[in-house]
């Protein structure tokens, strides 16, 4: 996925004030602010509920007006550098506050409400009213901008980390494997050009499967084919030292699985269980279906003593566990055990078919 490089990544991350959710949040925040102000002013001689009511009324006008202004300016703010966007957002909120305050003062000086309502609803000290509101608006607005900026940065970090991890998981063909395969192909180019050609085709298919980002799930048949391609390449290099037994005839080949479910397991089995053993070894891939549950098992001999388990193994298993959990939330399992002198990995997941894909096959 290409990174959006041209844009300044440090942009202002305001919520979408055109959306109902954000407007509801504004109403809630405004009401709570009014409550805080009313509590703080309780001893001013004005009745509490009356103070709360008129403060809330005033702030609702300010809140709704600001939300409307920010909604209208949304696209423009997003394309501006951070400093300018912040200033514009804050400025527009202050303008709203100024307009609403002037409105209130105008209402007080007009005879529209009558003297009783004027005394109850309007500020007792009109001379400070305007300046106080602008001051409070500037402070609270700045705090809010700072808050939105920090949460936006945080969310962006989380996203970047997640994306980086997915990419790392996908680009996980071992360099060791790549260069050894290249070396094998270089050797075959002269001695057995037909096999060299096949090996290049296999390698291309394998990389295509590894680089595939769009299709997160494929049929079991396709996944097993990728694993077999991997085996063919390793076979050229390891010769008779590598034996693989496939016992997968009972599997429902149209079941959908996350891509690269099997191949990394086979890769691990060969890398840890066969390559380090001078005499080589046999990897067994077997699959069964029990009702709606599919079980895949990969077993390989343990390397000779001294070559303890590598951490790379655990990374691959965690990766598979994570992706299975995304595909079948709570309905899959990954087990890895040493049993006697064998290492056994067992995957269990529900049988799911993609109706559109299977009808088109």
């Amino acid at each position: 996925m290409p990174e959006p490089t041209g844009r300044d990544l440090r942009s202002l991350n305001l919520p979408d004030f055109c959306a109902a959710r954000a407007v509801l949040a504004v109403v809630l925040i405004v009401t709570l602010t009014a409550l805080v102000l009313a509590i703080a002013r309780q001893h001013g001689g004005v009745a509490f509920w009356l103070d709360l009511g008129r403060t809330a009324l005033f702030l609702l006008w300010v809140g709704m007006g600001s939300a409307a202004a920010l909604c209208l300016l949304r696209l423009r703010l997003a394309s501006m550098p951070l400093g300018l966007a912040s200033a514009l957002a804050l400025g527009s909120v202050l303008v709203v506050i100024a307009v609403v305050s002037l409105g209130v003062l105008w209402l007080g000086s007009s005879a529209l409400l009558g003297p009783r309502a004027t005394n109850l609803l309007l500020p007792s000290a009109p001379q400070n009213f305007f300046a106080e509101n602008i001051g409070m608006g500037a402070i609270i607005g700045s705090l809010a901008l700072r808050y939105f900026y920090v949460t936006g940065e945080w969310r962006r970090n989380v996203e970047l980390q997640a994306r980086a991890r997915v990419r790392a998981l996908q680009a996980r063909i071992r360099p060791h494997f790549l260069f050894n395969s290249m070396n094998t192909i270089a050797a075959l180019t002269r001695s057995d050009p037909a096999r060299a050609e096949e090996a290049v085709e296999d390698l291309a298919d394998l990389f295509r499967a590894n680089l595939n980002e769009k299709r997160s799930s494929i049929t079991l048949k396709e996944e097993l084919e990728v694993a077999r391609i991997y085996q063919r390449i390793e076979q050229l290099r390891l010769g008779e030292r590598l034996q693989v037994i496939w016992d997968v005839a009972d599997l429902p080949m149209r079941a959908m699985v996350p891509g690269l479910l099997m191949q990394p397991l086979l890769e691990n089995a060969i890398y840890h269980g066969v390559e380090p053993r001078p005499a080589g070894g046999t990897v067994t891939v077997s699959g069964t279906q029990d009702g709606e549950l599919i079980e895949l098992t990969v077993r390989n001999p343990l390397p000779d003593a001294g070559n303890a388990a590598h951490s790379g193994n655990r990374v691959a298993l965690e990766n598979i566990r994570e992706r299975m959990n995304l595909t079948y939330p709570g309905r899959s399992s990954v087990e890895a055990n040493r049993v006697g002198d064998e290492y056994i990995v067992r995957l269990r997941f529900p049988h799911i078919e993609d109706s559109q894909r299977s009808s088109s096959l």
């Binding site: 060791h176 192909i185 010769g239």
Partner: protein, 245 residues
Amino acid sequence: MNQRVLIVDDEPPARERLRRLVGELGGIEVSAEASGGEQAVRLAGELRPDVVLLDVRMPGMNGLEAARHMALLPEPPAVVFTTAYDAYAVEAFDAQAVGYLLKPVRAEKLKAALQHASRLAGRQLQRLAARDPQQAARTHVAARLGDQVRLIPVADVYYFAADQKYTTVRHPGGSDLIEDSLRTLENEFPGQFVRVHRNALVSVDRLAAIERDAEGQYHVVLRDINERLAVSRRLAGELKERFRL
């Protein structure tokens, strides 16, 4: 006289390609091929090649270890390592100025490497091995035997005992002198061997019992061979407890 080369790699296609490239250079003769470290050390002793092209990553004895054993030969060959991808090894080779080739090997680089190949000093190789995070411990220890090197699998060793100058290794085939000090061996194989005395390191698997004779001296009794080794008083209690003897 032609330069004589020994090719060592566990993968048949890799050997095949090197053989062809070496053949095409001219003036160089492939004296033999080996598919593993042990075979390579044996062939290096028998055929005395000028240069060994040695794969780093091999099952069993790897290239670094094979090179260390070859360095004990009276006329050790020059060594050029080959590797497909091994970031640690490449870094270490650069640091120690050791010749290496990256696979797939280019003909002109092979030519240059063979021309400039040099013998490696034992100390240089030890430093290389120390930098290898995967496999610091050797699979074999090596004893000089005439103009050959005898490899003794570490797993077969009963014990190591120190004289004034040499270390004796006792194994099913008898006993041999090696150049490693007890301290080096103790550090290289922790868990596999245990110190029972200032001058003896015993295989943990061979410990059978600890006995005390009439004079109050402690001895370890070994499995499979009828030999006893003195145990220092200080270590006797610790050993009894640790191995439940």
